[in-house]
């Protein structure tokens, strides 16, 4: 055997090994979701078959109807969407303004504040949770959506950092040319930087969407009126009520998860982009 064909054989073996690991790993990672789907289509009896069957007979699509009917599903979806979109808007608007100040403007104290901004990311949220709750209580904001939306209009440290990194890649010449033409700073931000940053802003919006859609602790602390509940709280009260009806519960969970999965599959690019943007790769 000459060296060329031995290299070829070892490459082939390498490839086989990589594929077997990839496939074995993927199966392990995807099984829980398939199991969820399978459970959600099982009848009340088939649920406790031993050993468990993967393909339910017959398919109980009815579970999804039950899931949607057993809590004010539409109401909660609307509430969650409302909170999510207001938070997305607030985050994108405020974080981009602040990021612009850090990336493109010179002002005294900028570097110090940037360090403080990064340091706040290390702060355990519990330290501010109680005083902020007391503050909102004094303002009579408990059981309203204000505590769950207003804070987003003051920018998130991580998002500001992410956008700053992106803004820094936009050439200075662009804004300088606009300045000579007599453009106001806010116009440069709105007319040049925001349009050029669409992919970064999309990443930001998606991250905020994921965070708010899945948020549990916030609504748990601030909302008491069941009419104002979000889907996450709805799932929780569903669990309290139907403890072991796993088929209906999995159906409900799938419905709640679905938007995030669809969003991920259709916007994968932006998820990855967010990571590379932060430049934490060293």
């Amino acid at each position: 055997m000459n060296t060329y064909s031995s290299v070829k054989t070892s490459l082939f073996i390498h490839r086989i090994m990589v594929y077997s690991l990839l496939i074995a790993g993927s199966v392990l990672f995807i099984l829980p979701l398939l199991w969820m789907l399978s459970t959600s289509l099982k009848g009340d009896v088939g649920l406790f078959d031993l050993p468990p069957k993967w393909v339910p007979e017959p398919f109980q699509w009815d579970n999804y109807v039950k899931a949607v009917q057993s809590f004010p599903f539409l109401r909660y979806t609307y509430n969650t969407l409302f909170l999510t979109f207001v938070s997305m808007f607030g985050t994108v608007l405020s974080s981009s303004l602040v990021a612009y100040a850090f990336a493109k403007l010179r002002w005294p104290g900028r570097n110090v504040w940037f360090v403080i901004l990064l340091a706040t990311m290390m702060l355990p949220p519990q330290v501010t949770m109680i005083p902020v709750f007391v503050l909102f209580k004094k303002l009579n904001w408990i059981d309203t959506y204000l505590p769950l939306t207003v804070p987003y209009f003051f920018g998130g440290a991580f998002y500001i950092f992410l956008l700053r990194q992106f803004f820094m890649t936009i050439p200075k010449e662009l804004s300088e040319a606009a300045k000579i033409d007599g453009c106001k700073e806010i116009m440069i931000y709105a007319k040049i930087f925001l349009p050029l940053s669409k992919p970064a802003l999309a990443t930001l919006a998606i991250f905020t969407f994921m965070g708010t859609w899945n948020d549990f602790l916030g609504p748990l602390i601030y909302l008491n009126d069941p009419d104002k509940f979000t889907l996450a709280l709805g799932l929780r009260s569903f669990q309290m009520q139907y403890g072991t009806r796993w088929n209906v519960m999995m159906a409900a969970s799938i419905i709640v998860m679905l938007p995030t999965i669809v969003l991920f599959l259709s916007c994968q690019k932006y998820f990855i982009e967010g990571i590379t943007l932060t430049g934490i790769k060293g």
Binding site: P108, L117, T128, V134, F154, E185, Q239, F264, I280
Partner: protein
């Protein structure tokens, strides 16, 4: 410095500055004050000196238990997730057909979070009808009671956390793709084998990313809440009463806001100490490229 630009700078920065004072700096100080008081939200806070801290450290076994549970989770879960995160990232960095699909599959579980995932895992870990014990039975192993067994409840949640390793994985992958190719080429010319290349090139180049994920993982580990709240309620025998859950219960169930504030401050000091230790030791194991990068 241009005066107009400085004014604009502060105007653009002002949303965060206002938010910082309203929702960060102010609350941090107020939280420190509250930690020295007895406060149930109905009557004004009453100054009690160091009493909260004294009770916390000397008369509250559940505080120590919750701290132990949390450290247990952090000590196992963070290294395990770093290990698997790097391993899978190495696999994802292979240039084979269809790798994008595999990346999506491994990443997907980390983007579904919250209550739905907690419910799913509660069902997966069901001792009698769950998928995991069924799989173990097929291998001839009798699975434990998982969440209902106080010795297995924490390992259950650590296992569950591995499923969301994709978030870290994608960061390592970005790190791997940033390693200059010529380093490997030079090493191959010098006759260094694959293993040696991994230890001498890949791992050092990846160390800043590992450092980042280590710090974030530890901070995140101290926040474990939903799993315990939804899946176990802190049980059995308080084996999953994590720090964040205990603090939540003290604040919002027992309305002991002063006591919970003291807990929050202790938590802040603990995480601060951890972070400082890691930063101190990082100088000996994190490799930073030369000044030309900064």
């Amino acid at each position: 410095m241009d005066r107009q630009e400085a004014i604009n700078g502060y105007l653009f920065f002002s949303p965060w500055l206002i938010g910082f004072f309203l929702f960060m700096a102010g609350p941090i100080l107020y939280s420190l004050y509250l930690s020295f008081t007895s406060y149930n939200m109905l009557k004004p806070p009453r100054w009690i000196g160091f009493l909260n801290y004294k009770i916390l450290f000397t008369e509250d076994p559940l505080f120590w238990k919750s701290l132990y549970n949390t450290l247990y989770f952090v000590f196992f879960s963070v290294p395990i997730n770093i290990f698997f995160g790097v391993l899978i990232a190495l696999l994802m960095n292979q240039k084979v057909r269809g790798i994008r699909v595999f990346r999506a599959i491994f990443y997907l579980p980390s983007i579904v979070t919250g209550v739905a995932v907690a419910l799913l895992w509660q069902w997966l870990l069901d001792p009698n009808f769950g998928l995991i014990n069924d799989g173990l039975a097929k291998l001839g192993i009798e699975g434990p009671g998982w969440l209902s067994d106080e010795n297995w409840s924490k390992p259950s949640l650590i296992l569950m956390n591995i499923w969301s390793v994709g978030g870290g994985m994608i960061v390592y992958l970005a790190g791997l793709q940033g390693v200059p190719k010529d380093l490997y080429e030079a090493a191959t010319v010098d006759g260094a084998g694959k293993m040696k290349q991994f230890w001498r090139i890949t791992l050092p180049m990846l160390s800043p990313t590992i450092f980042f994920n280590l710090v974030m993982g530890i901070l995140g580990g101290f926040q474990v809440f939903i799993q315990a709240y939804i899946m176990t309620g802190g049980g059995p025998v308080n084996s999953t009463t994590f720090y964040a859950l205990y603090l939540y219960n003290k604040a919002f169930k027992d309305l002991q806001m002063g006591y919970a504030s003291a807990m929050a401050w202790v938590l802040m000091l603990i995480t601060l100490i951890f972070t400082l230790i890691i930063i101190k030791t990082s100088r000996s194991w994190v490799y930073y490229e030369g000044a030309e990068n900064k």
